[in-house]
């Protein structure tokens, strides 16, 4: 099918390969607090999709409930969106993906939405290797219900409420690795240069691509004493390396002389090019990722960047051997066995 390109375009706006401008990837005006980390992530989504020249309507964006889960309204206004119920986005994506394997599924969630109420669904979407991009906008608190500690708040971290958190934090990237996620990354809403290529790589990855994005809540958890505030994160952040997402056929930029590089070719032919700052990390090894994460954590540092990927992974459709043609496109001819077969069934029940 061919369609007319978008009609109203400012002549000066740069366009991508499809002729769409960045505007075509934007959504409604955000109603989040000024300075909220989540808005930066929305902007990174817009930039990634624009630069990858993805047709906006080929993306389905889904979320749970929370400030973070509101963001799908603020990007990709030409995509279908689904703001579901608290913690249950993964199951809705699972069903949607089963119905039509040809769309790109972008799930957005919060740390409350994923690490507490939605932990079960998150875990099971990971282990089924559902083909989707799963972004957690992680602010260590429940923004929308006014700042209670979430399960990703570090022990001792202190939100605006002033009480240090007493309970062990759940590291969602660690959980994802443990449960068999085939693409795991961590980033920071304030580091767009790192986040954009990670989102692109996640979109190209076949299987469950998880990005835990630390995303400060300026209203409830950006005070001194909080380990999810802008200042603390900037001061403690270290990257596995710089990531370059290289679409098929494009040339790879070289690393700086003192860095080692690693390249991973994805199933669609694009390449993830990693200039490593931590040369002990092997992004193809789950154990290596787990070990490096622990190593940084023990030193009080936050390791960001691409942590692990398995480019040859099998997604849920592969595992259950379902039709290549999207199930939702099947009609009576393929689906209804007809009268003669029913007669035989009747006979077998006599």
């Amino acid at each position: 099918m061919t369609y007319l390109r978008p009609e109203f375009r400012h002549p000066q706006l740069p366009v991508n390969e499809l002729g769409y401008s960045r505007k075509d990837y934007e959504g409604a005006l955000s109603t989040l607090c000024a300075g909220c980390g989540h808005d930066s992530i929305s902007a990174a989504v817009v930039q990634s999709m624009f630069e990858m020249s993805i047709e906006p309507h080929r993306v389905a964006k889904l979320s749970g409930i929370g400030c973070s889960s509101k963001t799908p309204t603020y990007f990709l206004g030409k995509s279908h969106g689904f703001n579901s119920v608290h913690g249950r986005m993964p199951s809705v994506v699972t069903g949607a993906n089963m119905a039509n394997r040809d769309l790109i599924y972008l799930g957005v969630s919060g740390d409350g939405d994923t690490a507490s109420i939605g932990m079960g669904q998150f875990a099971h979407a990971v282990r089924r290797n559902l083909n989707m991009v799963y972004i957690v906008m992680n602010n260590g608190c429940y923004g929308l219900t006014k700042g209670q500690d979430s399960a990703t708040a570090d022990v001792g971290s202190c939100s605006k409420k002033g009480e240090p958190n007493k309970f062990e934090a759940i590291d969602l990237a660690g959980v994802a690795l443990e449960l068999g996620a085939t693409f795991v990354a961590r980033s920071f809403s304030g580091d767009k240069d790192q986040l954009v290529p990670l989102i692109k790589a996640a979109v190209s990855h076949r299987g469950f691509a998880f990005i835990d994005v630390i995303s400060p809540c300026v209203t409830f958890n950006n005070n001194p004493g909080s380990t999810k505030g802008y200042e603390f994160v900037r001061d403690h952040l270290e990257a596995t390396g710089t990531v370059d997402f290289v679409p098929m056929r494009e040339e790879i930029t070289a690393c700086y002389p003192n860095q080692t590089s690693e390249e991973v070719t994805l199933h669609d032919g694009s390449v993830v090019h990693l200039c490593k700052m931590d040369d002990k990390l092997n992004v193809r090894s789950r154990n290596s990722a787990v070990e490096r994460m622990k190593n940084y954590k023990d030193r009080g540092r936050i390791l960001t960047g691409l942590l692990y990927m398995d480019p040859d992974s099998q997604d849920l459709h592969d595992s259950i051997d379902s039709s290549k043609k999207p199930l939702r496109q099947l009609g009576e001819k393929e689906l209804c066995p007809g009268v003669a077969v029913l007669q035989n069934i009747n006979d077998s029940l006599r």
């Binding site: 389905a60 689904f82 119905a99 199930l327 099947l330 029940l349 006599r350």
Partner: protein, 621 residues
């Protein structure tokens, strides 16, 4: 045996009950017995009465046989076949006076159990098996077949029907035919040699008709295949599990793409019922027909999602095979006790379209139809069956399908329609005035038709708003849509004692209360009470249901729960005076019987006519 009442020969009217131990392979022998009677052209209604247990606890299989078409349970056991010492005391008590108690006399009977108003027939099952078979498993399995053989002699069944069935059953495993037939003969011959055969209760063949014998859950699974379901998300729970198992069984036979060998379906076993419902909603939102099956506890967990689907107007099909609640209740016993939980599932002002099948054919039809309804009405359709219908073999009219039938996919704009549209697409605009808006599937058109699905309030263009007027307008439209649903859902089925005038008594019923209610009408007629019936097949209630209530002097609602849930729903939704509706409630976990219904009705009728007589007498005096 002095206490045995006088016996006159009875043909084709008996209840046989087998008392077994769970997990000993008795099920297939018992099925063989019931199926043979079915093939003899008789009305059979086998009931599995089983515990929530895999091995070791008592389990029963009860078969009622008659040739009047009655398919409800009937009280009173004519012949008890006791293969389980654990439950023997209770089993002896259940036999009706003049009946028979068949037991394994390889060991002596506990004399304290003796009754003098029934006959005890000793069948040395264990001894015969010890002599015939070396292998322990064979001894156990063939014991079951042997008692079926003995029963054949005792009630005069066609032996050839049994042997034909065995041949059918072991098609492809022919080696097993001879030993099974041999076991049947062992029992048959033993009975012939040692007892006066037949007993006073016997069976006699009748023309077979075109009935089928099948579990309701199997019919639901098949209905989902014919109805075009491509996705099922589910979580195992008795008594609904076999719905999805049946769907998978039929899909594996009929939904493998001949070209690629790939599956034209996807079944995902979810992590819980919340996820199962989420998957169903996600798939339907994205344009596939998806369903789930569950029972009471699952309904509780699905409630939040059901509210979302109602409010955001997403099709979904949910099959609730009801069991006895509350909580885990009696998970292997039947009830109709999720009516209110389903009608109003979720918080806020929510109500759902319900359909109530009574037979396997209706399970098939209504499952297939539910996919049309869900997409036409853009809302969840909940089908309420129960354990009795779902997990027992039920005699039913055969399945039918119209070759020219097409799926009714409801109001969906495709790419071409969107392309030619000059006005802005409004997801929740009531374009046609029936309360049903138009939707689009994700990925349809690059620039038109995208919208945001949400559980929060929104305007007609799916844009978030907390404007009170917009909210109210939307809620009113949802009510209008519910009103529209009345003309889409299955109509009630009304029977009349007299075609020309209304009987004084009107009985409302639904689902598996049908067989008992229709038979009760005959029993009541014998007592001089004429009754009409109205079988509710869907909610929202059709106007005919209210007319039926208003046009009968004494109205009864028959249901299998404690709180008269259907009655409450009628009173609430149709603004009825509760005193107009008498309750007939059976909720002990056993399928309701005609006697129970008839007694409840006649007690009220006689009481009121008694008091009327008194009043009339007082007026005269």
């Amino acid at each position: 045996m002095s206490g045995i009442p006088a016996r006159t020969p009875v043909v084709n009217d008996l209840v046989v009950k087998f008392a077994n131990v769970n997990g000993t392979g008795s099920a297939s022998a018992n099925n063989l017995f019931a199926k043979a009677l079915f093939r003899m052209g008789l009305s059979v209604s086998p009931k599995n009465i089983f515990p929530s247990n895999i091995q070791g606890l008592p389990t029963w299989y009860e078969v009622r046989v008659n040739d009047q078409g009655y398919l409800a349970r009937r009280e009173g056991v004519d012949i008890m076949v006791s293969v389980n010492p654990q439950s023997m005391a209770k089993d002896v008590r259940e036999v009706k006076p003049g009946g028979y108690f068949i037991y394994d006399n390889s060991k002596p009977l506990d004399l304290r159990l003796m009754r003098d108003d029934i006959d005890f027939i000793g069948l040395p099952l264990t001894r015969i098996c010890l002599e015939e078979y070396k292998d322990a498993r064979q001894r156990q399995l063939f014991k079951n077949v042997i008692y079926v053989g003995a029963m054949a002699a005792l009630i005069n069944m066609d032996f050839s029907v049994l042997t034909d069935l065995i041949a059918d059953q072991f098609k492809g495993k022919e080696k097993l035919i001879a030993p099974n037939v041999h076991a049947l003969e062992l029992g048959f011959q033993y009975a012939k040699r040692n007892f006066t055969c037949p007993l006073h209760v016997t069976v006699e063949s009748r023309p077979m008709g075109d009935y089928i014998l099948v579990e309701g859950n199997d019919a639901c699974g098949l209905g989902a295949v014919y109805g075009g379901a491509t996705m099922a998300g589910w979580y195992p729970i008795t008594p609904s599990t076999s719905v999805v198992e049946a769907f998978e069984k039929y899909c594996k036979r009929m939904r493998i793409d001949p070209g690629t060998g790939k599956k034209n379906f996807a079944i995902v076993q979810a992590e819980d019922e919340l996820a199962a419902m989420g998957m169903v909603i996600g798939a339907n939102w994205n344009g596939a027909r998806a369903f789930t099956a569950t029972s009471g506890p699952g309904i509780s967990l699905m409630s939040e999602f059901l509210g979302l689907a109602y409010f955001a107007e997403i099709p979904a099909v949910l099959i609730d095979v009801q069991r006895a609640g509350p909580s885990t209740g009696m998970p292997t016993r039947t009830q109709q006790s999720d009516v209110l939980a389903c009608a109003y599932a979720s918080h806020g002002d929510t109500k759902h379209v319900l359909v109530f099948p009574s037979t396997p054919k209706e399970c098939f039809d209504m499952t297939a139809q539910s996919f049309d309804l869900a997409e036409q009405l853009q809302t969840p359709i909940i089908m309420l069956t129960d354990l009795d219908l779902g997990m027992n073999d039920n005699m039913s009219e055969p399945f039918e399908w119209d070759e020219n039938r097409t799926y009714q996919r409801g109001k969906v704009f495709n790419a071409e329609q969107l392309e030619s549209m000059s006005e802005r697409f409004g997801r929740y605009l009531d374009v046609d005035g029936d309360g049903i808006p138009y939707r689009t599937y994700p990925g349809t058109h690059p620039t038109k038709g995208a919208f945001f699905t949400r559980g929060t309030s929104r305007d007609e263009y799916a844009v978030y708003t907390e404007d009170g007027e917009e909210y109210v307008a939307n809620m009113e439209r949802l009510l209008k849509k519910f009103e529209t649903a009345k003309s889409y859902v299955p109509a009630p089925v009304i029977t009349r004692a007299n075609a020309k005038a209304n009987a004084p008594v009107g009985i409302l019923h639904f689902g598996t209360s049908m067989h008992a209610t229709l038979e009760a009408v005959d029993l009541l007629a014998g007592e001089g009470i004429a009754a009409d019936t109205c079988r509710i097949r869907a909610f929202p209630f059709a106007d005919e249901i209210v007319d039926f209530i208003n046009s009968h002097e004494q109205v009864f609602v028959v249901e299998q729960n404690r709180d008269a849930q259907m009655r409450t729903l009628l009173v609430n939704e149709c603004d009825l005076d509760p005193r107009r509706l008498n309750k007939v409630l059976n909720y002990n976990g056993m399928p309701i019987t005609a006697r129970f219904v008839a007694d409840a009705v006649s007690a009220v009728v006689n009481k009121s006519s008694g008091s009327q007589r008194k009043k009339a007498a007082a007026a005269k005096a």
